[in-house]
Symmetry: C2
């Protein structure tokens, strides 16, 4: 069997290493890049290069920021309340909360969640930096917004335990039925959360 040329094979292999892109998708994407105008393909190549060269983590909260800014857009914003800190696993969780546009405090990005089986312990996360931030004294409340699953909950518990002696209240996001969903299809855990967290009208 004759293969593609080396350059095409290399591109297919590189695309296939992206998460959720299988062999077939990688081939399809490669063909798109071969056919599309050079500007479009080179813009993508350039954008990849740019983020690897310019994007750093915020020195305070570990969200993404451009290299020349030591603090991210949220931490720099004087309208945000720096005494309320919402703890998320990843920058994309932060962005999801920002899109909801109801939160006025700042963040702390852990850059992962505890996953002992994959060798991710507290030292792989930014827990130490969070602890230092809280112990420095400025924080009034810590809102745990890790994912509502086993690993997210474990991570939240670790953080809460570490900071128990500081006296800073640690809360977590409410759980229950998803707005817009139907009760009939809610699973056991959702219903249990919804019952135990029930609130007065």
């Amino acid at each position: 069997m004759a293969g593609y040329s080396t350059a095409v094979d290399t591109l297919i292999a590189a695309l296939g290493r992206l998460p959720g892109i299988g062999a077939k998708s990688a081939e399809r994407l490669a063909h798109h890049l071969l056919k599309c105008p050079p500007e479009e393909a080179l813009a993508l190549a350039e954008a990849i290069r740019e983020v690897k060269e310019r994007i750093r983590h915020c020195q305070t909260c570990f969200h993404l920021t451009e290299a020349e800014e030591p603090l991210c857009a949220v931490c720099r914003d004087p309208r945000r309340d720096p005494t309320v800190v919402c703890v998320v696993e990843q920058p994309r969780d932060l962005m999801a909360l920002e899109r909801a546009a109801t939160y006025q405090g700042v963040y702390h990005v852990l850059l992962g969640r505890l996953a002992p089986l994959q060798g991710v312990g507290p030292e792989q996360l930014t827990v130490d930096a969070l602890e230092a931030r809280v112990r420095a004294g400025q924080v009034r409340e810590l809102i745990m917004a890790t994912n509502p699953n086993l690993e997210g909950d474990g991570t939240a518990l670790l953080v809460a335990n570490r900071l128990a002696d500081t006296g800073v209240p640690v809360t977590r996001l409410a759980r229950g039925l998803a707005s817009g969903s139907v009760l009939e299809f809610a699973n056991k855990e959702m219903l249990a959360d919804a019952l135990s967290g029930r609130q007065r009208f």
Copy 2:
């Protein structure tokens, strides 16, 4: 709402222009590229640049080939029979046939299919080059391997009509039941093809 930095937004936008990659996927891919080792991300950027710089179409069959080779790997291969030409729509169709590893002839890639509604007529395809190739006299048989759908069939018909006066036999790939499938789930067209194309044991 605070956005990502410009570099990240640019990358997400560039990824979102790829076919089959929606806004959510683009964000997920961007985060992967931000987190992965620089070598991996830059290898992808470089691979994109490489194909845009180095990949050209074969002068004979319009398959993909590296810039320094005027002919593709199939056309260069002395073991292939240059008198039998299989006509496909895209390089990826050629690759699918090559993976089956049963075809010993050469190819002609049309680089598309007739789609009048999208403004793709014969002049957007490599039909003229195919005609010239056949009229040059070396071709014994033309096998139409365009996609078995309305547009593919229309394209095959156009080519067959154009070359009717040359006397070169034009065949098309057999149609019928997909090997490994079950009759119960075959659709009307497949069953009609299977019946009309039935063969003796």
